[in-house]
């Protein structure tokens, strides 16, 4: 069954378009999706997933189950960068350690969205609050990462890093605002909003996701080239840390009896790494960190790993555990 799900996932058009993008880079094709089309597609995906989550939440309401899940999400987005930092600190500079820790503590919206589409193919429900979980997990790791760097850096800055501005930055981040905003719009509008927007946010969603993953493939392909500089420790890290995070996530989900749909999404959030919000924030707050490391690690290794192997494998384990416990 595991291999069935794996193959089915590989035949998912979105995943196949990701491969097509990778392939185009490898054969040095001039295929490109010019800016700001990818940006448009990503705004569309965030808006759509937000509205869907909100509508869903307007049905289910904010239960204690919802609060538990959100609690785990935020807790883990503070914990992951912490242990990641101490693992990394031994091998790379404080700055790179903090940046990579923030990257892995934060999340990848596209990985999450690909997982929701995977669940939909299996007709498995998930709670609308998982979209809120995603938004809530985007920023805390950035703050933890910067905090850790400042604790360990030798040459304490003249001008103390302004935490206020980092927190403000984290909270007003465009994608967080769009996701939470759309969620609330869906929540307020409920059924009526769903009906009005469904052809846009629902029907064409899979096609837009496939198109977007073509671009992600092109992007990941280009970043793979710069992985040489990362060295084998960091490459291994990008493969192993998602698995560790996922394992902790699976354990917590079992402990708190979270249903399989929500569990998969939470695990995927933990296992995924940021390549939009974190690089943007870190590039300003920690210019000493090398974006040639943290960007390709998350984009060219962890992202493909999760959408190709991670999602179906995490799902299979969760299913197995649900059946046997």
């Amino acid at each position: 069954m595991s291999s069935d799900i794996l193959i089915q996932n590989l035949l998912n058009p979105a995943v196949l378009f990701f491969f097509l993008g990778l392939l185009a880079v490898f054969i040095r094709s001039d295929l490109e999706i010019p800016q700001p089309i990818p940006k448009f597609l990503s705004l569309y995906l965030l808006l759509s997933i937000g509205v869907k989550g909100g509508v869903e939440l307007s049905h289910s309401g904010i239960t204690s189950h919802v609060m538990t899940t959100l609690g785990i999400a935020v807790f883990m987005s503070l914990l992951v960068p912490l242990y990641s930092f101490y693992i990394l600190k031994k091998r790379v500079s404080i700055y790179d350690a903090g940046a990579i820790a923030a990257t892995y503590g934060s999340i990848s919206a596209v990985t999450f969205i690909t997982a929701t589409s995977f669940l939909k193919d299996l007709n498995i429900e998930y709670g609308g609050h998982m979209v809120a979980a995603m938004a809530l997990m985007e920023s805390p790791a950035i703050i933890v990462g910067v905090l850790l760097i400042n604790i360990y850096r030798k040459d304490k800055n003249d001008e103390e890093t302004s935490y206020g501005s980092i927190i403000k930055e984290a909270l007003t981040n465009g994608s967080v605002v769009l996701i939470l905003g759309s969620l609330i719009i869906g929540l307020l509008g409920g059924e009526r909003t769903e009906q009005a927007l469904e052809p846009f946010t629902g029907d064409i969603f899979k096609g837009m996701l496939a198109f977007f993953l073509l671009d992600m493939g092109l992007l990941a392909g280009k970043r793979i080239r710069s992985l040489r500089k990362a060295g084998s420790f960091l490459i291994l890290f990008s493969l192993i840390i998602p698995v560790i995070n996922a394992a902790i996530g699976i354990a917590l989900c079992q402990l708190f009896h979270i249903n399989i749909g929500d569990s998969l999404l939470l695990v995927v959030l933990l296992a995924s790494a940021s390549y939009i919000a974190v690089p943007a924030a870190i590039r300003i707050t920690v210019p000493e960190a090398n974006p040639g490391l943290y960007v390709p690690m998350s984009l060219a290794i962890t992202f493909p790993f999760n959408i190709i192997l991670g999602i179906p494998v995490y799902y299979h384990i969760l299913e197995y555990l649900n059946l046997h416990t």
């Binding site: 280009k222 970043r223 390549y275 939009i276 943007a280 590039r283 300003i284 210019p287 090398n290």
Partner: protein, 97 residues
């Protein structure tokens, strides 16, 4: 025609508001800017890829008098030191109108 200084500043897109603030604080009203500029420098490649403008530069062109230039060199130097980027200064004539 009037002789003046032609100042070019290239810096990360995310820092562009800081450049404008420096100009504002020194009452330099006129400037031109180009977004989505790419390049390479000490901080590596700005290839414009990805979904965020963190990997893009902004190019500024400021035509100003020598006195105005003198007022902004120090703040610009400080900004470029922390955030990266370059500043080139050359001579030009302004076609009066």
């Amino acid at each position: 025609m009037k002789a003046l200084k032609r100042v070019e500043i290239i810096t990360g897109s995310l820092e562009s508001s800081k450049v404008i603030r420096i100009l504002d604080q020194n009452q330099i009203n006129g400037y031109t800017l180009i977004k989505n500029v790419l390049g390479r420098g000490d901080k590596g490649e700005q290839d414009g890829e990805g979904l965020h403008n963190a990997f893009q530069n902004t190019y500024f062109l400021v035509a100003c008098s020598e006195e105005e230039l003198n007022k902004i060199t120090e703040p610009l130097r400080k900004l470029l030191k922390t955030s990266g980027g370059v500043c080139l200064i050359s001579d030009a004539q302004w076609l009066m109108h």
